[in-house]
């Protein structure tokens, strides 16, 4: 009986991981045999990136139960920290170790910023927490946009004004150019790496959820006062979940940065719009349901691209689909209707009969 229990959660984890492996093998084969259009090929890494974002945000929103609207900010930190490192080390390190180190740096930088932001912020609740995380996301984006870093024979120069005020020597090279960001990041990521990172993200999050710490985190979500009363350290586990979630978003940022040669923080990639889009994946996929939020991320990233032929109408259709899906998923009337006609119910009845 006891064995069964661990086995049950493990089985579900294996299924999720299996889906990733199968999807990877199929897509990789299709890509190699040239069936995939270059458009879809170009989407493979972003798909994994957004899936990682969705899974990691689900840790905060679904498992910890706190609404965060600044998840893209952590992605931004991971992207810039790692891209900066990779640009600096472009000549001195081979691609493999360079990307590995960049990955570590990106994750740690994002996790650290998650930790530091989490200390004050996690005292707030609900909508207040939401607006403060949104504010932090915007601040991060804003700060990155005014950051200038250059390097010459004397070392690094920093400024928050412009390139001139870096005061570099003749040989100086601008590494981070304010709103123009970082150019010349080596394209170190590819679909295989992206799939591996998604795989790792799932292992981390799913194993965390099905462990003692995950239980503590969910206990806090379900009833903070009761969790305190059984001796669970609230601050510690909130920070743990928030930092891991931020670190994983940082990892997605590393992937993102190393898939493009130019990295600039704009409203559409690291602004609150992106945070909200990731939140849409999480909520549509089922709050707290890691596997489905990953799938939702993939489908909803693909959807606008597949609708590309409809051009101007595609985002309009996307928004209508979104509203209709929310109404269908959550409105009490739709729920009744679904329960009445659901496939599961028919199957459920059958299964129950067979068991009896």
């Amino acid at each position: 009986m006891k064995k069964e229990r661990i086995a049950k959660s493990t089985k579900s984890t294996w299924i999720t991981l299996g889906i990733v492996v199968v999807a990877y093998v199929i897509m990789q084969t299709l890509a190699e045999t040239g069936v995939l259009s270059s458009l879809v090929k170009g989407l493979l890494v972003p798909l994994c990136t957004y899936a990682i974002m969705a899974v990691s945000l689900n840790l905060t929103v679904g498992i910890l139960g706190e609404l965060s609207l600044g998840h893209a900010g952590f992605m931004c930190v991971g992207a810039f920290a790692s891209a900066f490192f990779s640009v600096c080390m472009k000549e001195s390190l081979p691609a493999g170790p360079r990307f590995f180190l960049a990955l570590l740096i990106g994750i740690l930088a994002a996790a650290l910023s998650g930790f530091l932001i989490g200390i004050p912020v996690l005292r707030l609740k609900g909508d207040y927490l939401a607006i403060v995380t949104l504010a932090f996301g915007e601040i991060i984006k804003n700060l990155v946009n005014v950051l200038y870093v250059g390097r010459d024979e004397n070392g690094f120069h920093f400024s928050i004004k412009d390139v001139l005020s870096l005061g570099m020597g003749k040989e100086g090279k601008v590494l981070i150019n304010g709103a123009q960001g970082i150019t010349g990041t080596p394209k170190d990521s590819n679909f295989t790496i992206a799939a591996i990172l998604l795989f790792l993200t799932l292992i981390i999050v799913l194993n965390l959820v099905n462990s003692r710490s995950g239980r503590a985190i969910m206990a806090i979500r379900d009833n903070r006062i009761a969790a305190e009363s059984i001796g669970i350290n609230i601050t510690r586990y909130k920070l743990l979940a928030f930092s891991i979630s931020a670190g994983l978003a940082g990892m997605a940022g590393v992937l993102y940065a190393h898939n493009l040669s130019t990295l600039a923080a704009q409203p559409k990639n690291f602004g609150y719009n992106m945070s909200i889009m990731i939140l849409v994946y999480v909520v549509l996929g089922g709050i707290g349901n890691i596997r489905v939020s990953m799938i939702a991320a993939v489908i909803l990233t693909l959807l606008p691209e597949l609708l590309r032929e409809l051009q101007d109408y595609r985002m309009l259709i996307y928004s209508i689909v979104l509203i209709v899906m929310m109404l269908f998923n959550w409105s009490p009337k739709a729920k009744e209707w679904r329960e009445k006609y659901s496939l599961k119910r028919f199957l459920g009845k059958k299964a129950a009969k067979e068991e009896a």
Binding site: I6, N207, R212, S213, M218, N223, I225, G231, I232
Partner: protein, 252 residues
Amino acid sequence: MALLEVKNLGISFGGLRAVDSFEINIEKGQLYGLIGPNGAGKTTVFNLLTGVYKPSDGKVTLDGKNITGARTTQINQAGIARTFQNIRLFKELTVLENVKAGLHNNHPYSTVEGILRLPRFFKVEKEMDQKALELLKVFDLDKEADYLASNLPYGKQRKLEIARALATDPKLLLLDEPAAGMNPNETRELMDTIRFVRDKFEMTILLIEHDMKLVSGICEELTVLNFGQVLAQGKTQDVLNDPQVIKAYLGE
């Protein structure tokens, strides 16, 4: 020395003195009742003892250790566990997981061991499952172990809360109206369970209850609270026959 010693405990909310110079001594293994009319400040006493509120004055000593003004988490680790008047379960967790959450501090392994599924994860999780099922069996909840806590009927939810509190291996267990909403049969059953818990785990129990049958049936000593102050204290039968107590309950 008594297990729980409370001296001159008090708290004010704004101008209102909700609890004033509250004193109590509970010996190890005792089954102690805290009674009083609605609004007398009984739950406030529980909240003061468990650190939900910080006392304005007074001193609380548990097993010789001063825990006055400590945080809820620390107080639980020091050895006080409780249940709540308005049930507070982890609704989205299963019955078993609720109890396992209670085992959190006594069966540790690190987050990294959990994520990497190192051998200790399997060992400790197995221990936890065994321990949790044992506890659930005491409360006749083992068959529902894999139900979501929110799907349990009301009476069983109350029992699950007690099981979860016991999982933290406390020295003192505080029960806030454990029989609220139960029918006479369930209440009788609950009385047996509480006695059983006291005997089996050598537990000290302080409970708030309005059901006088339960109180007079299992409590050895009572404290009566009225308007935030101790009205009477002593052996159950003496207290219940005290004219002052009768007056407080029945009115003039």
